[in-house]
């Protein structure tokens, strides 16, 4: 039944050492349960102690027509014994549940990688839908990969036969059969999954039993069907070295939600969350709706505008107002964000970015809302902008957003993206006693007899007092019209508008942003790769590899997009070249050029897919003139001779004048 299109030679087999990391991609119809399969595999992997990163990749249509190319849903996981920062460039294993899934995904598979295909689904109808002229499982077109074709559909039907399910219901267990095989291949424990299935189908025990039977059958198939003879061996990926402690997996959406709750608790404030459903931000609304005991009130508003306006109303009334959305929704919220800036009230706005403009690519990732976050409002309307780099980082960035919002009486924009929202990674459960509380005391001091309360008086940070309605003796009115310094009364006078515009700008520029650290490498050197947000993983890996190859490359990753760290300009000017990889057409690059007059260069990608490590490696090589395939001394401090000369020349012509400021 099982045949390999390409026989693995002994030399090939010995050439691949025990894997440090393995990338597996599950691909099928959007109704095949691929996200669920991937999610459960992730959990099993985390429990085995591997570091991991995942990349769910699914169509915008909830149930696209069966078997079509645009209906393909995939879930990729990269797991291994070393630190994993990305979901992996190229899969080692592709599990294709139908011809369309094979067609869409096979070109990304590593040469020599393994295809597991459900040949039961490769009938003429499905081949036509996937636009295959001939059956790829038969015509030799997959020769550069290993092919394992199994009639998973039939094997599943056989396995679940005793439970008397209808044909359609029985076939729904295919994903569990496949998962069973994958668990066998990577030596993963089935027990947690069996427990999960029992809980999930508690009300329909026959479905639980059928799914468990399918899972066990897939596992048993791996054990008994002499797959080893074809070079398909059971892989045991050793556990990754991690700091000792308690771990769990989180997605960015989970971590943002937990971070917002933690931030509100550290600020000792009740939280009000106004939201409106939008991909990929809704998961935050869902998560927060369950945290009532943490004084969290969630409100699904009638639209994006009401979501932010209600959050601002709640902030006015003394709660921590929070809203979230994705680009199109943020656009709708913009006027209310301006009101928050004008009335100087705390507000946290999360933007889970997706491909744009307009509706764009709702389920795909992009970083193209940086301009919108930093500049995208009418008037001179500055607000702090933060960006999270990984799912786990979302937790700390959310807390930082709450801290800044309450300390400086300002709306704060927190940028994540579709990739971070959905991607899961292991997270060392933080010790909350290590987080410094920043309790908010609403202003209640009544001014002395004969003195007036000044709602727009400023403290040493430039922040105005936060007074809750209901407080006696401090009655005042606020609004979007320009207000007089101090009294907050309507004031259109030219000098006052100048004064207040400057005050709003200076307050934001004065935020206590920590100095920028260098992630890898050092200050001063040939090349710095500057990133922000979810490109952290591929940049970190690419820089790590480049440095291992002896190249003088450093990695700087921004959390504070606005205002920028005070040392950032000097730091950037200390390098000969600046490379800014972004999933947009060069937005951070433009801001860096504007702020520091540095010759930052872009590496851009807007395909809806995260960067591949190799793409960044290639750009690094181009900038430092190195050939990555060449064996270089692994001493990162010493640059190989041939390149320094070339690079100096390169620098003279291209980056000769770093900036007028540096002279």
């Amino acid at each position: 039944m099982a045949t390999a299109a390409h026989e693995v030679t002994p030399s090939e087999a010995s050439a691949s050492p025990a894997p440090e990391a393995v990338v597996v991609r599950f691909a099928g119809d959007s109704g095949d349960g691929m996200q669920l399969t991937g999610g459960q595999f992730t959990l099993s992997t985390a429990l085995a102690g591997n570091d991991l990163a995942t990349f769910p990749d699914f169509p915008a249509e909830i149930r696209a027509p069966q078997g079509t190319l645009f209906g393909v849903s995939a879930f990729q996981i990269n797991f291994g014994s070393a630190q994993i920062d990305t979901a992996g460039d190229q899969p080692d294993v592709l599990i294709a549940m139908n011809p369309a899934a094979l067609k869409v995904n096979v070109d990304q598979l590593k040469p020599g990688g393994l295809i597991i295909a459900d040949e039961g689904e490769f009938g003429q109808r499905n081949l036509d839908k996937a636009k295959y002229a001939a059956n790829p499982l038969e015509d030799g077109s997959l020769a550069k990969w290993q092919l394992l074709k199994l009639n998973i559909s039939q094997l599943t039907l056989d396995a679940v036969k005793p439970f008397g399910l209808g044909n359609k219901e029985a076939l729904r267990c295919k994903n569990m059969w496949t998962l069973g095989l994958a668990l066998w291949m990577f030596d993963r424990d089935r027990a947690p999954l069996v427990e999960w299935l029992k809980a999930k189908f508690a009300k329909a025990p026959e479905l639980a039993e059928a799914n468990i039977a399918a899972l066990n059958a897939g596992h048993a198939y791996g054990e008994t069907a002499e797959l080893g003879a074809m070079g398909i061996n059971k892989h045991s990926v050793p556990a990754a070295p991690s700091e000792p402690g308690l771990y769990r997996t989180v997605t960015g959406a989970d971590a943002i939600s937990l971070g917002l709750v933690a931030g509100a608790q550290l600020a000792e404030l009740p939280m009000f969350f106004g939201g409106y459903p939008i991909t990929p931000a809704s998961a935050i609304l869902h998560a927060l709706s369950r945290f009532k005991e943490y004084r969290v009130t969630t409100f699904q508003a009638e639209d994006e505008i009401a979501a932010v306006a209600s959050a601002l109303g709640a902030s006015y009334a003394g709660s921590l107002g929070v809203t979230c959305s994705s680009g199109p929704g943020i656009a709708l919220k913009t006027e209310a964000i301006g009101l928050a800036i004008m009335t100087e009230l705390p507000l946290v706005i999360v933007n889970a970015q997706r491909g744009g403009p307009s509706t764009g690519l709702p389920t795909k990732t992009e970083q193209s809302d940086l301009y919108q976050a930093v500049y995208g409002r009418n008037g001179d309307a500055p607000l702090p902008v933060l960006a999270a780099r990984s799912a786990a980082d979302c937790f700390d960035v959310a807390i930082e957003a709450v801290r800044i919002a309450t300390r400086y009486m300002t709306p704060v924009m927190l940028l994540t993206d579709g990739y971070l929202q959905n991607a899961a990674e292991p997270w060392k459960v933080p010790d909350m006693s290590g987080y410094e509380p920043f309790p908010v005391k609403h202003h209640t001091d009544v001014p002395a007899e004969g003195e007036k309360f000044l709602p727009y008086a400023r403290n040493e940070r430039g922040a105005r007092p936060w007074v809750k309605p209901g407080t006696p003796g401090l009655l005042h009115r606020i609004g979007g019209i320009e207000k007089a310094a101090g009294t907050g009364n309507i004031d259109y006078s030219p000098s006052n508008h100048q004064l207040m515009t400057d005050a709003r700008r200076d307050k934001i520029l004065g935020i206590d942003v920590p100095d920028q650290q260098v992630e890898q490498g050092r200050a001063g050197g040939k090349l710095v790769v500057v990133g922000w947000g979810s490109t952290y993983g591929p940049i970190a890996q690419a820089v790590r590899r480049a440095r291992r190859n002896g190249l003088d490359v450093s990695h700087v990753h921004l959390r504070h997009i606005w205002p920028m760290p005070k040392n950032l300009g000097d730091l950037l000017r200390s390098y000969e070249h600046i490379l800014v990889p972004e999933m947009n057409t060069g937005q951070l690059k433009t801001v860096l050029r504007d702020q520091f007059l540095v010759d930052a260069k872009s590496l851009t990608k807007v395909s809806g897919q995260p960067f591949r490590i190799a793409e960044i490696e290639a750009a690094i090589a181009e900038h430092v003139g190195a050939d990555f395939d060449q064996e270089l001394p692994a001493d990162g401090t010493q640059l190989p001779e041939p390149f320094s000369g070339h690079d100096d020349g390169h620098n003279d012509t291209k980056g000769g004048a770093l900036s007028p400021q540096s002279e």
Partner: protein, 344 residues
């Protein structure tokens, strides 16, 4: 010796701010402001627990002139901001001040949802059938044929009916008043007494851009024949009791009937039941001209409020659960890593 401070009831003057009122001389808004300031002492309101929230437009300047907490927000969004205020602190007494453009054009969506959710607050819609602050364009309540800078040949669209819109949105309290009419405070008092969203349409004269548009019923000489002030449990009479509103049972429409010698019963005049939604629908749809303008509390039938339901659910859902942040972050499936990392 202890000084005994007597808590004196507030007077209308206590509700005035030090800000110069900046509406056009003769604007109906002045009369509404006075009526509200006169109402506050009568309902026993306290300034610090009172919040006025407004959108954008002439009417929305209102909060600056009330010695309470106030939030002048953005165009059309006052109901959304007020929802956040009330959910964050249900003890606050929230008044929304809006206009025909603010509430029914740019903010129509929020008005609808505030009313259907039944947030406990008062919505005062100042209807002057025109955009005043932007210099006189026709509004969603302007009558067909209204000539304005944006409709020099007359408007062609059908106007919205605020009270019909409110009822259609699920409002449980709908009332009408006139800016300069002495009954306005009693309408406001009833709105305040209603637990839930209380919608009040106030006919407000724009002296600059739409002067005298309500004169056919609002002007003193026209009042008796053209104003029908409804009162719960009382017959729907006007014209000094000489005319009444009756139901034509065959066509299920209202009709005007003559009443002689005060015998409204034999004339078949309807008795106003403010909890009768069907009557309310008929009254707000009554075309002016053949019929008088129905005024006062047209509908008042309380239902549970939005914020009380939210508070109750939050309470039930948190019962028996402690807010333990450490426990929260460690939720879900976890695993221990015991060994220190080995050197790479």
């Amino acid at each position: 010796m202890n000084e005994i401070t007597t808590i004196r009831p507030s007077t209308p003057k206590d509700w005035e701010t030090d800000q110069e009122v900046r509406w056009c001389p003769g604007c109906g808004d002045y009369a509404i402001l006075k009526a509200v300031q006169r109402t506050m002492p009568e309902i026993g309101a306290t300034p610090e627990n009172t919040v006025f929230v407004s959108g954008i437009g002439c009417s929305s300047r209102f909060p600056y002139y009330m010695e309470t907490y106030g939030f002048h927000t953005i165009h059309g969004r006052a109901p959304a901001v007020a929802t956040g205020v009330k959910l964050a602190n249900p003890d606050l007494d929230v008044w929304i001040i809006t206009g025909d453009g603010d509430a029914l054009s740019i903010g129509g969506n929020h008005t609808m949802h505030l009313l259907r959710r039944n947030l406990n607050c008062q919505v005062l819609l100042f209807n002057n059938e025109i955009y005043g602050l932007t210099k006189g364009q026709y509004s969603p309540t302007s009558r067909e044929g209204t000539r304005s800078p944006s409709t020099p040949f007359g408007s062609v669209d059908h106007p919205a009916k605020p009270c019909a819109f409110a009822l259609g949105s699920g409002a449980r309290f709908v009332a009408r008043g006139i800016d300069v009419h002495r009954n306005l405070p009693s309408v406001l008092k009833a709105a305040h007494a209603h637990q839930g969203a209380a919608f009040v349409e106030i006919f407000q004269n724009c002296i600059v851009y739409n002067d005298e548009v309500f004169e056919p019923f609002a002007a003193k000489p026209n009042a008796a024949l053209n104003q029908l002030w409804v009162e719960n449990g009382k017959p729907l009479l006007f014209a000094g009791g000489a005319k009444g509103i009756a139901l034509d049972t065959r066509s299920l429409t209202l009709k005007v009937v003559d009443v002689s010698d005060g015998d409204w019963e034999s004339a078949g005049v309807l008795v106003h039941d403010q909890t009768n939604r069907t009557i309310a629908h008929l009254l707000v749809e009554m075309p002016f001209g053949p019929f008088p303008m129905a005024l006062g509390v047209l509908y008042d039938d309380p239902a549970p409020t939005f914020e009380s339901a939210v508070v109750a659910q939050n309470k039930t859902a948190s019962e028996g659960k402690a807010a333990d942040l450490q426990k929260l972050v460690a939720k879900g499936q976890t695993w221990m890593v015991d060994k220190a990392p080995h050197a790479l």
